[in-house]
Each structure stands twice: as C-alpha cells, then as structure tokens.
Symmetry: C2
C-alpha cells in the first residue's frame, strides 16, 4: 500500500504514484492527517514488535539484574517505534500532532503497559507514563528526521555549538562551565539515558490523585 513512499508522503505525490489526481484520495481518507495516521499504523503492523517470551518473574521486588533486564525489554518496542519513525521523515511530525489510534498503535501501547506492569510500576503512573514515553520517542524522531532532511542541518548545528562554546562567562556562567557536557554524547547514548530517566521518573512520581471526576 505505502511501501514505496519512503520519502515525503504527500497527497499529490501519492496520487501521482497511483496515476490519478489528488482528489481521488479524498474518497478513501478525510485528509492528510488521516492518511498519515493510516500509513503509520500500516507500518507499525509490519514491524516485528519484539514479542519477548512472556517470562514473568513474580518476585516481590526486582533486584538489580531484573531492573536492567526490564529496561532493556522496554527499550525494544519503543526503540523499534523510534527507528520506524526515523525511516519515514514527516511521519513523526504527523504522529506528534495527531496521536494515532489504529489497531497496531494500540498493540504498542498494550505492550508497553504490560512491560511497565512487569516492572512494578503502579497502574496509574503507567497509564500516564506510556504517553510520556511515546511522546518522547516521537519528538526525538521528529527532531532528528527533519534535521537530516535539510542539508543546512550541519551548518545550523555548528551554529548551536558556536553559540554554546562562545558564550559570555559573565552572563551565562553555568553554560560556560557546562559547555562541553551540554554537547557531549552520541544521539544514541542520549536517547538511552533519556529513556532510563523517563522510566525512573514515571515509576517514582505519584499521580496527583485518584480523582475519578474527569472523563
């Protein structure tokens, strides 16, 4: 269906690919956002979400070994999702604006919720946390893909580096002393760290109240 649209998926481009006018697509989808959502869910279905064996270690509290394993298992589906969005520039941006709700996206949510439960995260925190995790994955992908898209990206990145390194020590003392730290780390190392920080925060931050008045 959309296996060929590796680049920027657009109404007109897709219509041309199918040898027709752009108006024809509106018979099947309501607009661009719906098209993108459909494609994303289709692609999610093709991704082999690592169906990690359902080994459940029901110890009261997980030890250090288990905590690391839990994190690694969780980074599986979330990493796959991020890499998927990386491959299709523009789709990440769409996913950020219009939260998908297709069946395969629900599979992803289900998987993450299951793993969070395995890790001993309280249900209410897990429910809010899954959103935070997926938003972070989407935002990271949107950031990176669009950066690669333009050839000016490197130049702009250099501008950031120059701005940080050439900062006035009087006005920005903290930036000055942290300049190399601010720019350090590979994208992958940063993603992994951010992911672990999110997990830690989600697990240990209580949701405001059990207020069931909403909804």
């Amino acid at each position: 269906m959309a296996a060929e649209g590796l680049g920027k998926v657009t109404m007109r481009r897709l219509a041309k690919e199918l040898g027709t006018g752009p108006a024809s697509l509106y018979v099947y989808v309501a607009g661009t956002t719906e098209l993108h959502a459909a494609i994303l869910d289709e692609l999610l279905g093709e991704v082999e979400v690592p169906a990690s064996a359902d080994v459940r270690c029901e110890d009261d509290e997980e030890d250090e070994e288990d905590a690391a394993g839990w994190e690694r298992r969780l980074i599986g589906p979330l990493g796959s999702y991020t890499l998927l969005l990386f491959r299709y520039p523009g789709l990440a941006r769409s996913a950020l604006v219009a939260r998908p709700s297709g069946p395969h996206y629900l599979d992803l949510i289900e998987r993450v919720l299951a793993l969070l439960a395995e890790g001993g995260v309280a249900p209410d925190r897990a429910a809010w946390g899954v959103d935070l995790l997926l938003q972070h994955a989407t935002a990271t992908a949107a950031e990176q893909t669009d950066r690669d898209e333009s050839p000016v990206a490197d130049e702009e990145w250099q501008a950031v580096r120059r701005a940080v390194h050439g900062v006035d020590p009087g006005r920005h003392p903290h930036i000055h002393v942290a300049s190399s730290r601010l720019l350090s780390g590979t994208p992958d190392a940063r993603f992994t760290w951010a992911f672990r920080a999110l997990l830690h925060g989600i697990k240990h931050t209580p949701v405001p109240s059990d207020d069931p008045s909403h909804d």
Copy 2:
C-alpha cells in the same frame, strides 16, 4: 518586529504585512527556519522570565519543603516557555526541528541550569537534563497548538477515546483495564506530573560515563 504575527507566521504573509514581495525577506534571513528562530528568540526576550530572588539555601540536603519549592521555581521559566509556544502556533514545531541558539534562549538554558544546580542535580545530569526538559516543553506545545489549529481536533480526540474505550479485552487487556486512567487528567495536571517525573528521573539517573573523548 513580529508582535502582530499572532497566527501562522509565514514568509509570504510577513512580506505582505510589510507591503513587499516575499523575496525581500531573503535579504535579512536565510530561510523560513532562520526566520522562525529569530522570532522565537525575540519573543523569549519579551517574556519576563521570573527572576526569582537568588535565595540560596545551602543546606547539605534539601528537605521536603525545599524540594517542592525547587520544583515550583523550575516550572516557572519552563512554564513561561511552554505558554509562549502555545500562543504562537507553528513556532513550537519549528523549535522542535531547529533548536534555537539565540541569546534569549541561552538565558533560558542558563536559568534552568542554575535551578537544577540549586536542586542538587549533578552537573553532567543537569547538562543532559536541560535538553530533555526543553524538548518536552516544546513537544507538548507543538502537540497542543496544532491540535487547536484544526477544527477536526475534537472529532479526532473522540476517535482516540472511542478506540481506547472500545478495545477488545482479549487482545488488549491492559488497555481495557486502564482505559479511564489513560484518558484521565487535565492537560495541565499531566504537564505538571510529566515535568516532575522528568526532574526526578534526571536527578537520579547517572549519565553513562565521564568519557571526554567526544567533541
């Protein structure tokens, strides 16, 4: 300079506003992303970043009271930044793609770094954390502003609600049992919680190593 461009800031619109052709803008800026970056930094300058009195309580470890106060102080500049992006749809999306590096953005980073240091966050974690915090603020704003932009937003949100509530309990048991929790909470409550989770995670997640080989 750009005080009137409350809506979608675009090359052609701005050119029309100034009573000239779109080509003229290219004398002053290199392209759309640079224009957006300039506007964002300009707007950041107008925002009164809450210049909280430099009360430094140099106790060895902060007690519960202090921890809450620290979080509240940090949410000041980050909240202002988020609200600013809320007011200018499209600017948040730009900021996500092209990280700003203007002087006022550096002020914001400086402020956040200072507050993180006040809160006893290790310098290397603070350096990576400030990026995570600002990315979250930007992503949240991008998400929301674009949602408001389109009138189909409500309908689409209803689709998500229906998808979550009407889920097959066999295929998605965790979603089924968590359905109301997944949709609960005001945007503000969620933002505050996510923010606190981020802070907690940043403070307690060690950066991979002091590897100074990079850069």
